[in-house]
């Protein structure tokens, strides 16, 4: 469903993404892990059609996003890490606007928007301006907006940030169910427990390249012996120096 081939993105002399290739089939929940500055957000923004790659291609459902952006984006819902919502729109107006971008309107959209808002406990606030929403409420609204037009693929950058435990649980269920029903979700996260519990496959990215990609079993195999949990695997693959340095700093 998502096919990335030799993707490279350079910012001047800095290479943010360096020739990565991967495929995410239909019905898979795919996790993207990596330390800060690894190139995850850049990769997701290229998949969403916001950034153009320096080289390489991205296909969504077999459609090349550079060659046929509208057809590719029609299949996609994107949730950025720092989402923007129009402050002076109400929650319901915002969902209606996003649905309209995908040519969807009418009673069905109203019904769906109401359901999504109810799911995230926002129904009572649906007619309030977004400027009065808390950080977590905005995050719930932006997640609802990605589902309102029922895309085939959802690309989401750090979905759990700002969510309370209940909303985080709902989101996990929603993602899992959505993937089970044949849709594809690609998400980046720093919460390793979430990735381990939810994702069918996980890619670990560092310095713009994929250090490992596969199921938990694959990752365990690719990490050195003894690593069982994702945190250990992650640290081994991305280097433990930082953790050791931390001890040094605290002991200084």
């Amino acid at each position: 469903m998502i096919k990335i081939t030799n993707l490279t993105k350079r910012y001047g002399s800095f290479t943010a993404v360096n020739g990565i290739s991967l495929e995410v089939p239909r019905g898979e929940l795919f996790g993207f892990l990596g330390p800060n500055g690894a190139g995850k957000t850049t990769t997701l923004r290229i998949i969403a059609g916001i950034l153009r790659p320096t080289s390489g291609t991205v296909e969504i459902g077999g459609v090349n996003i550079a060659e046929n952006p509208i057809a590719a984006k029609a299949k996609l819902g994107y949730i950025p890490d720092r989402p923007f919502i129009y402050e002076k729109l109400t929650g319901a107006e915002f969902l209606r606007f996003v649905a309209g971008l995908y040519d969807q309107e009418g009673p069905q959209i109203e019904h769906r928007a109401r359901e999504l808002l109810a799911l995230f406990d926002l129904e009572d606030r649906r007619d309030e301006l977004v400027e009065s929403y808390s950080h977590g409420m905005r995050q719930k609204l932006i997640i609802s907006s990605a589902f309102v037009h029922r895309p085939e693929v959802i690309v989401v950058d750090e979905p759990m940030v700002g969510l309370d435990p209940k909303a985080a649980r709902i989101l996990k269920d929603l993602f899992r169910e959505y993937a089970n029903r044949g849709h594809t979700i690609m998400m980046s996260t720093h919460t390793l427990e979430v990735a381990q519990a939810m994702c069918d496959r996980i890619a670990i990215m560092q310095g713009g390249v994929l250090r490992a990609c596969g199921t938990m079993a694959d990752l365990r195999a690719s990490a050195t012996s003894g690593a069982t949990g994702l945190e250990e695997i992650f640290l081994r693959l991305t280097g433990e120096n930082a953790a050791r340095a931390l001890v040094d700093v605290l002991d200084a």
Binding site: I50, P69, K73, L101, Y102, R150, G182
Partner: protein
Amino acid sequence: MRDEGRGTADVLDAKPLTPSSQLQTLTPDSETAPLPNPSTRHLLIPKWLTARARTTSGERGNAIRLGVLVVFGLGFWSFIFFMVYRLLLFFKGVQEIGPLLAGKLLGLILVGFFSILLLSNIITALSSFFLARDLDLLVSGPVDWLKLYMAKLLETLTNSSWMVVLMAIPMFTAYGVVFSGGPLYPLVVLAAFLPYLILPAVVGSAFTLLLVNIFPARRTKDILTVVTVLAGCGLVLFFRLVRPERLARPEGFRSLVDFITILKGPTSPLMPSEWVQHAVMSWVNGRPELLPFYLLWSTAAAALVLGALLHRWLFAIGFSKAQESAEQFVQGGFIRRVAHGMLRPFGIVRRELVLKEVRVFFRDTTQWSQLILLAVLVMVYVFNIKFLPLRGEGMTFFLVNVVPFLNLVLAGFVLASIAARFIFPGVSLEGRTLWLLRSSPMSMRELLWSKFWVGTLPLLMLAVAIVGVTDYLLQVTAFMMVVSVLSITFMTLAIAGLAIGFGTFFPQFETENAAQIPTSFGGLMFMMTSILLIGLVVILEARPVYSYLSAEAYGTPIEPTAMVIGFGLSAVICGLATLAPIEAALRKMER
């Protein structure tokens, strides 16, 4: 928890929607399903809803704001209307060349408008096409390039042109009234003015598109800011040095040839401003011409098509580049060491606050580039004082010394404008970093006073320099020099205090552009209060100054009581206006 699980399932099980339901499975039908194609109107819905929410929200003080804006707006319109109206009446009375003069004036104004529109569109296009925060949402959606172009172009045009339109309304009205334009006149103006607004929007957006494809967007923004300020300054200087008021005094020219030469410049038959002028003047002169309308509309349409094509070719690449930040390395070891040394006696907290203020100011192009504008403002001001006709017949000692006293009003106004630009936005610019200062063990008093002094000291030097130089040019007496310098010193402190106070009470934390902060409601309130203060000081000092000038001119006795009361009260009021707003601001910050 089970309920929530069911809720999730319910959402996912919701009845299929059209056309997305077709997209859920990759059947042959889904490949041929029509692609989403949101209209330009749909893309503009958030702007419309935002504008509506802003006007209808029942926030406290909205009615007062509206009232102040209406009063100011009507006052502004009346002022422009009567200025142009009187000038046109005078022109109309001049035989033979009256309509020519009126047309030339219109041409000159329209050339100015066009330059302003072009610059404003270039700057605005950078924000609306490349840096606006809603672009991620729109660009990641299935939005057609042409619809996005039209929506963003309309947004750019509206944001860049509203001020010019507001100025043009009373101006064109005066032309219509003086030259009896008739009932169809507003439509004629609309038909001529609309393509005139479209042209700079298209050209400006295209220019920005090209620039963003060459430079990173943040660097482009810096370059554009400086270019705009320089161009704006050039325009101000040009109009000041041309001295358009001379057009109203033909007898001031050595010969008719000189006068005609002035009338000929600086317009060209290829400029859209000239077409609008021809369209409007031919109508009011009773000989309507269609050619200017053809030229305006066909050029606007052609520009729109070319602009759209350019957008299609370059926007995606440019937008992607715009997401990259310019690499900026900051050096300044020597200056840092010197500044550290100079500020050492004030302690670490004050030193770091002052250094932060200075660094942020000089690293923000939108901020420091305003210094260029300021320099031009001061130049124009001194230039005007220098050319005041205060020498010659009928100019008494009394008059020559009253003018520098009234000069305080003008100087005070200039200082208030500068404080509005540089001191008023201080607290607003802390914006989202305020949490850092507030959560630190530093008192808000330190923060506000450091902002006060960082802004006030340069302002004070400027104030004393302006008044000193202009007093020197006017050759005033020593007494008047002392009164002027002391008064402007007290007024500067008070204006700076007011700027800090109002800036704290009406912060604009969310703004992206520091240059927009002074034009907010709080900025308007600050300017009004400053003008009131200046007026009050001048009124209080008028009596003692009059007493002194009378004594010098006519030998009447000086009134010491009037002197003490007048100057004393002024000093007290300035002192209060300095301290009270800062104390009030402090209480607000600590609440």
